[in-house]
């Protein structure tokens, strides 16, 4: 199969002498190949016209290079004329109209008209600052009415085979067993290599540039190439081993190269011209199969990456949905406003803003008997979903413990804290804990019973009294060590009194650089009256102050407030 094609190229300087030189070169090669007289004539004519065009217009008498590439394949000749002149697409020129008389006949445009009429294919491309006009002479299949279109004559051995050094021969021996040439006969490989360029490359040399249109495929004979997707210096790259190839996609689909190819180490390269790659190389079945296998392997690898990315995106989306759901469940567990009906003898309002999707803060408030109301604020030490789950456990325990019938509120709160601590301490592998403040307001008795398990002391606003932090026994945090005893306290809570419970998200709100809101600011905020006039006014005042204080920083912790007031 490979003995039927030949690939040749010729460099000419852009002077009128180039035209005759091109003709002589083509005639000699074409007739040796066995082209018909007609095809030879047409090839000669097309070349003459195209080269004349370049000499006259592209270079206009100035020095410039013209390169001719000729692929002779069976009875077909494909000629490409390449010049570095200004962009000129001969196909965009209108065909000269058939003149009615000699007087009207135009002098120009005739040459390109002949090219278009006589070549079976004419193609123009601009790239790398060059014009490339390709013409094909003769049909793919020799026509029976064209006796000259005979298959090629027998061939001489590859022209520069003798120039191959021992090193290249050995390298070729080794790549015949791997990569693109795996399983191909040595004869086929030799015939292809004879029409390719062999060159050295140095470590770090950039061989292909992204965005360029190159008309060759590179195959490392010795050494390894690196494909860099982003830039030639990027640390992430894909290795191309000896015998594999790069640049084939650009040659196959005619698009620009999509990545950078850099020599990973000093080595030896086989540069396969496009015409050889698309023609004789792919005509060898073993090589074509290897190329397909290589492409499908790359496609599969690409698919795997896509699947992995899609899966990760779906998992993230599903996680996001679960977190949204968790947040909904969590906020639905907190009592909604109005917490107590109007006229119940007590007003209550809660506020919570989680720093993350789901938070560890909570508050609760519910009646526990005739004119007795239970209120609680807590803060689970960790954040995120584990904190939320621990918070749910705490909330559930509080509710069941608070609703046990018990007349002595103080005793009840002490036992509630102790039982919560015990139950949370069991099966707590994550070593989480919760700070808790719980209180029972006895409206009829005008007092408040409270227990504090390591929580921030709430603010107590009594009528005609400066605001103060609620005193009372301090107890350990809940959930770490079982079997602890908790002590509760008692304070007066007459009409007009307000208790503001909060978590450390308020007092530790950060304005940046460790500048925290602090207890004193909170206390000062409650001074001067007004704050005690309603639970809404109280909470809104705190939120506004904290938001103004920490406006420049993202919220780092959950913020929770619970205000309870006797009207």
């Amino acid at each position: 199969m490979t003995d039927r094609f030949r690939f040749h190229c010729l460099k000419l300087d852009g002077t009128p002498a180039a035209i005759g030189a091109a003709s002589a070169w083509l005639r000699s090669l074409g007739s040796r190949h066995g082209l018909s007289d007609e095809d030879l004539f047409h090839l000669d004519l097309c070349a003459s016209e195209l080269v004349t065009n370049v000499v006259d217009y592209a270079y206009g008498g100035k020095a410039g290079e013209i390169r001719l590439e000729l692929l002779l394949d069976q009875a077909t000749a494909t000629l490409t004329v390449i010049d570095a002149g200004p962009p000129f697409d001969p196909l965009s020129q209108p065909a000269p109209p058939q003149p009615g008389s000699l007087q009207e006949a135009p002098d120009g445009g005739l040459g390109l008209h002949l090219v278009r009429q006589l070549a079976s294919v004419v193609h123009y491309e601009r790239g790398d600052g060059r014009n490339r006009v390709t013409v094909r002479i003769g049909d793919e299949q020799p026509r029976p009415d064209r006796p000259g279109g005979s298959p090629a004559a027998a061939h001489d051995p590859p022209t520069h085979w003798d120039k191959l050094g021992e090193r290249d021969r050995l390298a070729l021996d080794s790549i015949c067993g791997a990569g693109l040439f795996r399983g191909a006969s040595r004869g086929d490989v030799d015939a292809i290599v004879a029409h390719c360029e062999l060159r050295d490359c140095s470590a770090g040399e950039v061989l292909l540039r992204a965005g360029e249109r190159r008309r060759c495929v590179l195959l490392p004979l010795v050494g390894r190439l690196e494909v860099h997707l982003d830039d030639p210096q990027s640390s992430f790259h894909i290795d191309v081993a000896a015998g594999e190839c790069v640049g084939e996609l650009s040659v196959i689909d005619g698009s620009a190269i999509s990545a950078w190819v850099v020599a990973g180490e000093a080595g030896r390269l086989l540069v396969i011209p496009e015409a050889v790659f698309l023609g004789p190389l792919l005509a060898v079945p073993a090589i074509a199969r290897n190329l397909l296998a290589m492409l499908s392997e790359r496609m599969r690898r690409g698919n795997d990456q896509i699947v992995a990315r899609v899966r990760a995106a779906l998992e993230l989306e599903s996680l996001q949905r679960e977190l949204d759901l968790a947040r909904q469940i969590q906020s639905s567990m907190l009592p909604a406003a109005p917490i107590f009906p109007h006229g119940a003898g007590i007003e209550c309002r809660g506020f919570m803003r989680a720093a993350r999707q789901v938070g560890g803060d909570f508050y609760d408030a519910f009646p526990v008997g005739d004119q007795r109301f239970f209120v609680a604020v807590g803060d689970v030490c960790s954040k995120g979903t584990p904190a939320a789950l621990f918070m749910v456990r705490t909330l559930t325990l509080l509710r069941s413990e608070a609703l046990r019938p018990e007349t002595d509120a103080e005793l009840q709160l002490a036992r509630l804290a102790a039982r919560c601590n015990d139950l949370l301490s069991q099966t707590n592998e994550a070593q989480q804990f919760v700070t808790l403040f719980c209180a029972i307001i006895d409206v009829r008795a005008g007092c408040i019973h409270h227990v504090n398990a390591g929580h921030n002391r709430p603010l107590l606003l009594l009528p005609d009294t400066p605001p103060m932090f609620l005193a009372g026994p301090r107890n350990p945090i809940a959930g770490m060590v079982p079997g602890l005893k908790y002590s509760a306290g008692r304070d007066e809570f007459p009409p007009g009194s307000l208790l503001l419970m909060y978590t450390d998200g308020i007092t530790e709100a950060d304005a940046g650089g460790g500048n925290l809101f602090g207890d004193d600011a909170l206390l000062a905020l409650m001074e001067g009256g007004g704050a005690a006039s309603s639970v809404d006014a109280c909470i809104e005042r705190v939120i506004a102050a904290v938001d103004a204080f920490a406006a420049a920083e993202p919220q780092s912790d959950d913020i929770t407030l619970l205000a309870v007031r006797r009207p």
Binding site: S23, P99, Q103, G111, H113
Partner: protein, 113 residues
Amino acid sequence: MRFESTALDGDVTQITLTGRLDIAGTQAIEQPFSFATTVRVAKIVVDLSGVTFLASIGIRLLMTSARGQANRGGRLVLAAPQPLVRQVLETAGIDQLIPVVADVETARASLAG
């Protein structure tokens, strides 16, 4: 590229071209050919049987001469092109503008009238 001019009976001039009418060939015969075909009114047969190649520049020379002769009231006939040269002439539409005949005899006969 060779150029020969022969005076025939009946005031007919036969010009015989031999070789390749490519750029170099056309440039080589341009002056004598133009001189022979355009400076005076004449009946001219251009024998193309020895022309093995014809490019657009050669066609332009033939057309210029034929046009010049026509402007003066003379005539120019192309005779005996080889098949591939004839194909180029036809492809370029020249046979519609300049008579192209199969041989020199036919050309002389057509000019005799």
